[in-house]
Symmetry: C2
Subunit: 290 residues, 2 copies
């Protein structure tokens, strides 16, 4: 690849740029961010070769790129898609890193046709509770799952992008966009919202009482870690995956209620047995083997 | 100290023994466990010098010890307390590691008087999601908080025990037993029950479908880690701290409901703002500095 343009040089976009630099020394990487401080930080980190100053410059760079990576929140991706479809040609590829895929995949089917660039919807299951180029790492995707929800045939450019993702150290999986959104509601969006709700509740209950955190250990830390996550990204998840997310949260509420009502009954044993079984399963969530 | 008897050589009791061996090479450490395999494992790890074969042997060893450490679930602690009070004398100390403190502290006030050994109620805020001597570590308590809820004057033996706890690398705090139980409901018992509820729910929803865990990353792993915790210990927490725990779970249920009902309203921004504030506070839960 000769040129890749990354739109959105926050944590994910800048980490993609760093991983690309490791995987391919020949490719020129250009980056745009609506916040010039972010693209300046990405440039200072040596992730991108040039920072594009304006949206117009980003579109001009996109028109000359093999691949454009949209690494912005979901509704910003949806905004960029028609603009890119208008200036990019067959042989070129647009891909994205958005957290929800149904709306993006449906939009791609309408906008990206045989007469335009191809579009490969993607979603790396990687991140941190805080965003920004400054936290980016080339190794962010190592061992992570990178999901694809494509509905169109592979092209040479999409195959080349998949090879790069594999070179980042990712496992990959292709799945239906609706199933993606339901699964991600369970494994990612629900944990985020539960952590946000508990963190906000603890602020209301304890303010800056130091006793809480002096006493709290790993359980409190893990349960509230995602409380630091930015609203700007998660608002788009909440708006673009409302029904599946609301269904998982409702199920969680009911399950906590059930456990609370059984703190003094034998049913508590059954809940612990099921939880133990979930964690003991051969494919239970384990820390990545380093 | 010449002799310490540890009753319960699971994860906590055996870790205490290992930490004692590091802190004091002169002390003989004897251990009893209702499961002989656990005391045999503790002996094989070099944590205790001898494994006591029977409850009677444990009581005889207790009568000859400077300190007895009760490292068993809360109701087992409550069962051992009158038996130890009957055989131990002024100058000796009984202490414990129970997760809830109100019932234990009230019982200690009645059973341990000027005519008996002293009792120092304690609670190390350390552990793992799985129990057992095999997982014990001398460093388990390093940087952790060890809480005390004493209502009686210090004795030479209780001061010596506090010095050993400090030598384990612990911070310590003294607080009222009722406040202890309320704070621990928030920082420890609620996260446990939320994790158990979510893990049990995921088992019911997904069974052994590999997609869930293939896709899930750190968020799912952290949110369900405590799902592996043993019922035997947590049943006693649920029974001995029911009201504070039920109150925190009810508050969490209501907060998740509130967030779910506001996935598409500006109130979601406010919840994220509060959660961000909680995590950004100077005393927010941070990983231990290694």
């Amino acid at each position: 690849m000769q040129r890749i343009t990354i739109i959105g040089t926050g944590l994910i976009g800048t980490s993609v740029a760093l991983a690309l630099r490791k995987a391919s020394t020949e490719t020129e990487i250009l980056g745009f961010d609506a916040n010039p401080a972010e693209s300046a930080a990405a440039l200072a980190l040596g992730s991108i070769h040039s920072a594009l100053p304006t949206e117009q410059a980003a579109l001009e760079s996109a028109a000359l790129s093999n691949v454009v990576v949209l690494a912005v929140p979901v509704f910003a991706i949806l905004d960029w898609m028609p603009r890119l479809a208008a200036v990019m040609k067959p042989g070129q590829l647009v891909t994205d890193t958005g957290s929800t895929k149904l709306q993006i995949t449906e939009s791609a089917q309408q906008l990206f046709t045989a007469d335009t660039a191809a579009f490969l919807p993607g979603h790396p299951m990687a991140g941190k509770e805080s965003g920004g180029a400054a936290l980016a790492e080339a190794s962010l995707f190592r061992g992570a799952m990178w999901l694809f929800t494509s509905t169109s045939p592979e092209t040479p450019a999409s195959s080349a992008w998949r090879a790069l993702v594999a070179a980042f150290g990712c496992r990959t999986m292709d799945l239906d966009a609706a199933r993606h959104d339901t699964l991600c509601a369970w494994v990612s969006h629900m944990p985020q919202m539960v952590s946000t709700a508990i963190s906000a509740l603890l602020l209301d209950e304890f303010g800056d009482d130091p006793a809480l955190t002096a006493i709290g250990g790993r359980a409190l830390r893990e349960m509230t870690r995602l409380g630091a996550s930015p609203y700007s990204m998660w608002r788009d998840v909440a708006l673009s995956n409302t029904e599946p997310l609301a269904a998982t949260l409702h199920a969680v509420e009911q399950r906590i209620t059930h456990l609370r009502e059984n703190l003094r009954t034998p049913e508590l044993r059954e809940e612990f047995r099921k939880a133990n079984t979930f964690r003991a399963a051969p494919n239970a969530p384990k820390p990545p083997t380093a």
